[in-house]
Subunit: 133 residues, 2 copies
DNA sequence: CATATAATAGTAACTATTATCATTATTGGA
DNA sequence: TCCAATAATGATAATAGTTACTATTATATG
């Protein structure tokens, strides 16, 4: 049975009002302003719980800490190799790749995770301006 | 300047003759039969080096240890939720998703990583046979 | 208001991986 | 073949990220 906790509410609010996919550490730093005695364990525990409840999404990167996303609607993520930031990618659904994967496969494809990477708009602008000068 | 090492050769051979995408720990256990005093650090160092050289591929899963693949030709991986094994997925290229992602995006999409998950053929067979009985 | 129990803070423990460093192995030249 | 230069090693410590433990506190329910 789930009981309310102010810390959990604060954690959820923090995630919801950000669009930069913060890490557990960032959430910890952020809510310490409101709850100076909050424990990092509490942050991890609640982030996992909220993700299980489907209220937030957990983004597992290859290396580096996991990130969390308050936007649970289907969308994709772009990882910038230059600055390391993770940004949302507005694009048409590519769910058909699951059908392609199922085609000659004897198992059951239940889903897939796709991450895009490259150079983000900001870093690309910097790159172009430094080359033209 | 790169120097030969028997340990590295053994590690590479081990990876090459397997198709189950072993972890560093599995490689370590495997080559200890030939080199009982090999260090886990040596295994990690060489797996990273071989991956950098493009001789093997590193597969980063969301959670759990990284896996390594001796097959460097382009292909996809399927993660079974039931038994945890990682198997190759023979399917047509889905590189066009990078074009889709680029469409309304101001940055430069240089690539993407896609992992499929669900129930593998073996686990699916078990599931069906247990239901029909 | 009392009881049951979920959640917490603080901390230890854990997993996967990387770094350090003295010693050993490999390599290319005399 | 020997030697010097240096890459690689084994052993171990250190690190990052996360989970587990436990006594105490907060929440919910009758």
């Amino acid at each position: 049975m789930l009981k309310y906790s102010r810390q959990r509410e604060s954690i959820k609010n923090f995630i919801m009002q950000r669009s930069d996919h913060p890490t557990a550490e960032t959430v910890y730093m952020g809510i310490r302003k409101e709850y100076p005695h909050v424990s990092l364990g509490t942050v991890y525990r609640n982030l996992s719980l909220l993700a299980e409840l489907g209220e937030i999404r957990k983004i597992s990167v290859g290396d580096g800490p996991d990130r969390f996303d308050g936007n649970t609607s289907p969308h994709y993520h772009f990882f910038c190799k230059e600055c390391g930031q993770v940004i949302d990618l507005a694009m048409d659904s590519i769910d058909h790749i699951n059908v392609i994967a199922s085609h000659r496969f004897g198992g059951r494809v239940e889903g897939s995770v796709t991450h895009f990477f490259g150079t983000c708009p900001e870093c690309l602008a910097k790159e172009i301006s430094s080359k033209s000068s």
